[in-house]
């Protein structure tokens, strides 16, 4: 017979729940409350209803930040998901040295993100950067990666792909190794080609993993802050001003905490919308197939 273990459970839960509530749960919910106030540092907070949201709706920089966040998403997430899946399939083969490659591929993910930004500032340097040196050597004209408005977001996207590709690959690899060998053997007996096996067996079985990788990558990209802050700080102009960058500037450079909170709320809503849409698209494809 099992008794109710409420009391002992509370003892075990207490330290975590205390810290979790104060430093994570209450702030997560509190953002909505703060967003209804005009809250500047030092001054007393003043309730202003939905004024912050009304102002956001008329704020050109805010629309720019939404557009940049979406472009950033389009530039990185599809590349990351497809490339990491292909790499994972490669590493799922019996190749010598695949352990070495697995180890190396996660190094970018382990490094301090803000320092990765500095490393790439050096790679992207207009005059002495490695990238421009090879571009010139191949006959191209140098690209001002971080100082040209047309290229800054692309430069940051390259860094993000470099950082997360190994991480995504490990997730796919775990999924691939979960597919029983017999499935492949049966297909081979039936005379299926490598491509047929990939399209009709591997991909459908990998569906849940693909959805999960897409969602995690999406969250990672939309929340990205460190590298952009170190590489461009939203510039040049507003070309890399993402929503998170704009939230930071509003709250901690201009000290408009209420306004920043309203942006935080919109970020969260956008995140949920993107996750839902991505999963809808994924599920519809399954019905067609």
């Amino acid at each position: 017979m099992r008794r109710n273990q409420w009391k002992i459970a509370m003892v075990f839960l207490l330290p975590y729940l205390l810290i979790f509530s104060i430093f994570r749960f209450i702030p997560s919910v509190g953002g909505l409350v703060v967003s209804f106030f005009k809250w500047s540092l030092g001054g007393d907070p003043k309730f202003v209803g939905i004024d912050n949201y009304v102002n956001l709706a008329q704020d050109g920089s805010f629309y720019t930040s939404i557009r940049n966040t979406l472009s950033f998403f389009v530039l990185t997430v599809p590349v990351l998901v497809v490339a990491s899946l292909l790499l994972a399939m490669l590493l799922n083969q019996k190749l010598a040295g695949r352990k070495v490659m697995r180890t190396i591929s996660i190094i970018p993910y382990v490094l301090i993100p803000s320092i990765v930004g500095i490393m790439w500032n050096w790679m992207f340097d207009n005059n002495f950067g490695l990238l421009n040196y090879y571009i010139k050597k191949l006959g191209g004209s140098p690209v001002f990666w971080l100082t040209d408005e047309r290229f800054a977001l692309i430069a940051v996207s390259i860094v993000v792909v470099w950082t997360y590709i190994g991480y995504d690959m490990i997730l796919f690899l775990a999924g691939l190794q979960g597919i029983p060998k017999e499935t492949y053997e049966a297909a081979e007996v039936d005379g299926a080609s490598t491509f047929q096996v990939f399209w009709h067996i591997t991909l459908p079985l990998l569906k849940p993993v693909t959805m999960m990788v897409s969602t995690l990558t999406l969250v990672n990209v939309v929340q990205l802050f460190d590298q952009i802050y170190v590489m461009t700080n939203g510039g040049p102009g507003t070309s890399t001003l993402t929503m998170v960058q704009y939230m930071y500037t509003s709250a901690f450079t201009n000290y408009e905490l209420g306004y920043g909170s309203a942006i935080e709320v919109v970020i969260l809503v956008l995140l949920m919308v993107l996750i839902t849409v991505q999963n809808r698209i994924g599920n519809r494809e399954r019905k067609v197939a």
Binding site: I8, I22, T103, D125, L171, V209, E264
Partner: protein
């Protein structure tokens, strides 16, 4: 499936290219940090340095409070990791093994927070920390990091899989719940604890947004924040020296790389398991 020879060659080529893509920026950073400043901005860039020197490293260590930053980083990362190991292990154990009303709801409420990034609650956190006088202190950096969710996810999944018979037998022998947890369950949890240790240590060591906001005093800063404020693009002026910047970077990532190589197996397992959710 048997692969033709040429296909195998192509696959190996792709493997090598991918490895170079991942590792070359890191190698180039290390090489550059070992060159005298005059050679760094030489043209064409030399993969093999004409002259090796530690002068950049000396500059970083003597002209900046680098050891203080490193000590701050170490204290924050180690204390945060220990805190997570204690708090999360107990909480995950309770939710996985004890019967009480509302435990599913509680677990789900915690796990949903995986989708709410720090960026979406940092302003209220800042106000809260200000009220509690935690700004500009190391405790103010440690405590929020202990409210970690990934560790709950990994440990909960692990504890749920342990066979019930273990604790039934111990309970019949009259062992209390704390003894069962401490003497029977924890010794079996090595792999899960290692995974949580490495994932959270690296996350804490790399943390940026919160430490940057919560600490304004120079000597209280952690390495990622201090380095990016001295050598990030925000501060790039005429006297900016890449050699010094890159030397500071190399020393800062060394501890993570050591931990990563030592506990690599658990790190990979951790990523894989933190992804697979129901």
């Amino acid at each position: 499936m048997k692969q033709p020879r040429w296909l195998k060659a192509v696959l190996y080529l792709v493997v090598i290219m991918a490895c170079l893509f991942f590792i070359l920026p890191v190698v180039w950073t290390v090489i550059s940090s070992l060159k005298p400043e005059a050679d760094i901005q030489s043209y064409p860039p030399a993969w093999i340095p004409r002259e090796l020197t530690l002068s950049n490293y000396r500059t970083v260590l003597t002209k900046f409070p680098y050891f203080t930053w490193m000590a701050n980083s170490l204290i924050v990362a180690v204390a945060g990791t220990l805190g997570i190991l204690i708090a999360s292990t107990m909480a995950a154990y309770a939710m996985a093994r004890f019967r009480f009303r509302g435990r599913r709801l509680l677990y789900q409420t915690i796990i949903v927070m995986l989708l709410v990034p720090m960026q979406a609650y940092v302003i209220p956190l800042y106000l809260m920390a200000g009220k509690m006088d935690l700004l500009n202190t190391l405790q103010g950096l440690i405590l929020p990091s202990v409210a970690n969710v990934t560790s709950i996810f990994i440990l909960h999944a692990f504890f749920r899989e342990l066979p019930m018979e273990l604790e039934e037998a111990a309970r019949i022998d009259g062992a209390g719940e704390f003894r069962i947890f401490w003497q029977i369950m924890l010794p079996l949890s090595g792999p899960a604890l290692s995974t949580v240790t490495i994932l959270t240590f690296i996350a804490n060591w790399n943390a940026f947004l919160w430490p940057m906001i919560a600490v304004r005093q120079d000597i209280m800063k952690t390495l990622p924040v201090a380095i990016s404020q001295y050598w990030g693009s925000v501060n790039q002026n005429a006297s900016f020296q890449y050699g010094t910047a890159l030397a500071a970077c190399c020393m800062a990532v060394l501890p993570t790389l050591v931990v990563y190589f030592a506990l690599q197996r658990y790190f990979v397992a951790g990523i894989a398991s933190s992804g697979i959710k129901g």
